[in-house]
Symmetry: C2
Subunit: 152 residues, 2 copies
């Protein structure tokens, strides 16, 4: 008794998957080619650069990015080797370490951000009218609420 | 002279990124826990299972998935070791190999598909009205067209 997707739902679903895969690939390539950082580096640097004193606990970073803990750990290790972040252990709290953005990391995100945002604008927002933008926010809010409910 | 995103655009953009990351994580976990395959395995098996005789050239598979060629090659190697696909070289055409779904692969996708689709339905489509579904299709079509234009 499977409830398969209708043709219209299937079209929307495959479009959404294809759009996000292609957007991620394009953004990653642009950041790599022009600034030598990956999209994953960029996403981590955004979260840390917006945090007070440029530092977040690693588990908070995982939550902010919606990544698995193991992915965050591997990513931070790679970024630390390249000087973009440092990991600071926390002797008084077993919940652990902080990730902290370095000056090198701040410089990297400040250099890359304008062209990255311009790419997002050209590929996505310049093409959308106000109603489409509102509808997109409605859809993502609705799905995020359902994801949060399903996690309880 | 950066054209930064407006607050509303920023909200829509971060919502979209967060939604797709969380959906992918949830779908991956459900497939792993219940069926022992990853979301990447699932995506490859869907494309091959729908192809004539269950076979596609590797570069066509990369295109259908919007993945880099190297990612497809690594993914197929892992799946071949587990018996889900076989790789068939093509002696007459330098453009290369085919990926072919095996009986094991077909069984895996047929077992996993109903629960996977049910998850997608519950998390996404059961929450959307007809207008929202239409708007989602409009947005993804618009962005995919812009991605295609930008690739020319």
């Amino acid at each position: 008794m499977s409830r398969w997707l209708t043709d219209e739902e299937q079209r929307a679903w495959r479009g959404l998957l294809r759009m996000t895969t292609q957007l991620n690939a394009r953004m990653n390539r642009q950041l790599q080619d022009d600034y030598g950082i990956s999209l994953a580096d960029y996403d981590v640097l955004v979260v840390l650069s917006e945090a007070p004193a440029g530092r977040r606990r690693v588990f908070e970073l995982a939550d902010a990015l919606a990544w698995e803990q193991s992915r965050v750990s591997h990513q931070l290790a790679r970024m630390q080797r390249r000087g973009l972040v440092v990991r600071e252990e926390c002797p008084t709290d077993a919940r652990g370490a902080f990730a902290v953005i370095t000056e090198v990391g701040r410089t990297a995100i400040e250099r890359a951000a304008p062209a990255h945002v311009e790419t997002v604008r050209q590929l996505v927002f310049d093409g959308l009218g106000h109603d489409q933008l509102a509808a997109l926010t409605e859809v993502t809010t609705c799905v995020l609420d359902r994801l949060a409910d399903a996690a309880d």
